[in-house]
């Protein structure tokens, strides 16, 4: 199963997680883990999701999430989890 990591970085605001979660639910993406932290005054959220049942390809939903981020004034990225695993796990 290929997992996807979704990150949201920006100024904290009402309804960011709600909006992202709604989008994911509508596209059959299952959330496995959520964590968040504030670094340097910025809101950082990370979700690990299972997109194997997703109705759209990762390249499409990363584009659409990016747009949602722009509407909310935050940066949203969706990346295949492998890039983090190779860099931080031997």
């Amino acid at each position: 199963m290929d997992k996807t990591v979704i990150t949201v970085v920006g100024k904290d605001n009402v309804g960011i997680i709600a909006k992202v979660c709604t989008y994911l639910a509508n596209n059959h993406v299952n959330i496995l883990d959520i964590s968040q932290t504030i670094t340097g005054g910025f809101f950082n959220m990370m979700m690990v999701v299972d997109s194997s049942e997703a109705t759209k390809d990762i390249t499409i939903f990363s584009e659409e999430l990016k747009q949602i981020g722009e509407e909310l004034g935050v940066v949203i990225q969706a990346q295949n989890e492998k890039i983090f695993n190779v860099m931080h796990r031997i």
Partner: protein, 454 residues
């Protein structure tokens, strides 16, 4: 499971420190494109390149989107053309025809460079090799994306001084023919000693004859990431510094390995090697010069520069080697002057000279790279510079190269502007004392004593 701080670290490397995958290069063997007429060979080559590499750019973009890492260049390397078309090219113009076909194929598949307009003449030149070398000025002037290289020496064979002399003349001519473009043609031509069997890095890229039919190679980069990492250990001793560089190089290279594996899987082409390199770009924060300054030099070129660069290279290789199953190419740090803002600044400040750059090439990957010299420099002097650099490679059993630009109509104090990744370069002074009699001797410098290992 991966934690949030690790995710933030990776994404900061990409967004703030210019971490990227510098290139995905497909190596394509053209040995099966030989034919009995020039037009047949032209057709075969065009068909092969546009078939094998047709999905390269799209695949690169897909990987870029999926992993969120920029893949800056998609490129192609091919079997040295002198070997493929030697029997059908009877004149230099025939070779130029082929260069144009290569250019057309590169444009068709959407890559930004195609390397392999090359000849390997470390011991001697065949008629075809010589014709190809003589065609380089015109080929570089009349194509946009074709890169050329010639290997003129090796530790095992010595240095082919006839070829060195001829190439000095050809570099001058290439500069003349492309003078309206700030002599850009010379930025696409590299002369080598000890060229590796297969080299995926432009401008000296070619697909080795010892390689399989087609292969995916990846070049990673990330001077900005290394610089930021060592800022955090500012003032610490060498042990701490080296550990930091190694760990960072490991992380950068793992990303390259991932991209290479994915590209290989999606294109159905075997994975070749990762080239572990700190390749700078003219962007601020993407500079090898900045790393050297952070290590403790006021400017690149100050005493200590060669030692700092030697250490940096070694740590990059040590960290990178563990991260990838196959490492190759040239690997280490690149020091192309025009492509590195802090190197340019060092030249302008008077800290970095041609002679110091030559010393630096003894410990780094390539050689005298992207250096502009006065347009009045004689062909024999250029050949002399090449011979010196080749000798460093031959004696030290390492790859060395020269990519030098005689800036026609310009002199010390002026600058040449190439644009894009090739950047701009201040014209550097060259020692003007003559080496004509040395270059005019002709023949070959024999292989050094330590070549007799067998």
């Amino acid at each position: 499971m991966i934690n949030i701080n690790e995710v933030i670290e990776t994404n900061k490397m990409i967004s703030e420190m210019n971490l990227d995958v510098r290139t995905i290069t497909i190596g394509i063997s053209l040995l099966d494109c030989v034919g009995s007429t020039l037009s047949e060979v032209k057709e075969n080559i065009y068909a092969k390149i546009t078939t094998v590499a047709k999905d390269l750019v799209k695949t690169g973009k897909d990987i870029e989107k999926e992993f969120g890492i920029p893949i800056v260049n998609k490129r192609i390397s091919i079997t040295p053309i002198a070997l493929v078309a030697g029997n059908v090219c009877k004149t230099s113009d025939d070779f130029v025809e082929l260069a144009k076909v290569l250019d057309k194929a590169a444009k068709q598949v959407g890559v930004n460079f195609l390397g392999g307009y090359s000849a390997l003449v470390s011991k001697g030149m065949t008629k075809a090799d010589e014709l190809l070398i003589r065609s380089i000025p015109k080929a570089m002037a009349e194509t946009d994306f074709v890169c050329s290289s010639v290997n003129v020496g090796s530790t095992k064979t010595g240095i082919n001084m006839d070829a060195v002399k001829l190439i000095g003349e050809m570099i001058k001519e290439t500069a003349e023919l492309t003078k309206d473009n700030d002599c850009l043609g010379c930025g696409k031509f590299v002369v080598f000693c000890n060229a590796p069997d297969d080299n995926p890095f432009m401008a000296g890229a070619f697909h080795g004859v010892t390689e399989t039919d087609s292969v995916i190679n990846v070049g990673v980069s990330g001077p900005g990431v290394v610089k930021r990492a060592i800022e955090l250990v500012h003032g610490e001793n060498f042990e701490v510094l080296c550990e930091t560089i190694k760990k960072t190089a490991f992380k950068i290279t793992r990303v390259g390995q991932l991209v290479a594996k994915e590209a290989s899987k999606r294109l159905g082409i075997p994975f070749g090697i990762i080239d572990l390199s700190l390749a700078p770009t003219p962007a601020v924060g993407d500079s090898v010069g900045e790393i050297l300054e952070e290590i403790g030099l006021e400017y690149t070129g100050a005493p200590g520069t060669t030692a700092a660069l030697a250490m940096l290279n070694d740590q990059v290789k040590k960290g990178g080697v563990m991260a990838s199953s196959y490492v190759g190419g040239l690997s280490g740090a690149f020091i192309p002057v025009s492509e590195d803002q802090r190197m340019i600044d060092a030249v302008n400040a008077g800290a970095l000279t041609l002679e110091k750059l030559e010393a630096m090439t003894c410990v780094c990957s390539v050689g005298l790279d992207m250096i502009a010299i006065p347009g009045k420099t004689k062909a024999a002097t250029i050949a002399g510079l090449i011979a010196d650099e080749m000798a460093l490679g031959m004696i030290n059993q390492k790859t060395t190269a020269v990519r030098i630009i005689p800036a026609i109509g310009k002199d010390v104090g002026d600058q040449v502007e190439f644009g894009g990744l090739l950047g701009y370069a201040p014209v550097m002074p060259v020692n003007e004392f003559s080496c004509d009699d040395f270059i005019n001797r002709g023949g070959r410098i024999p292989a050094p004593i330590h070549s007799f290992k067998n």
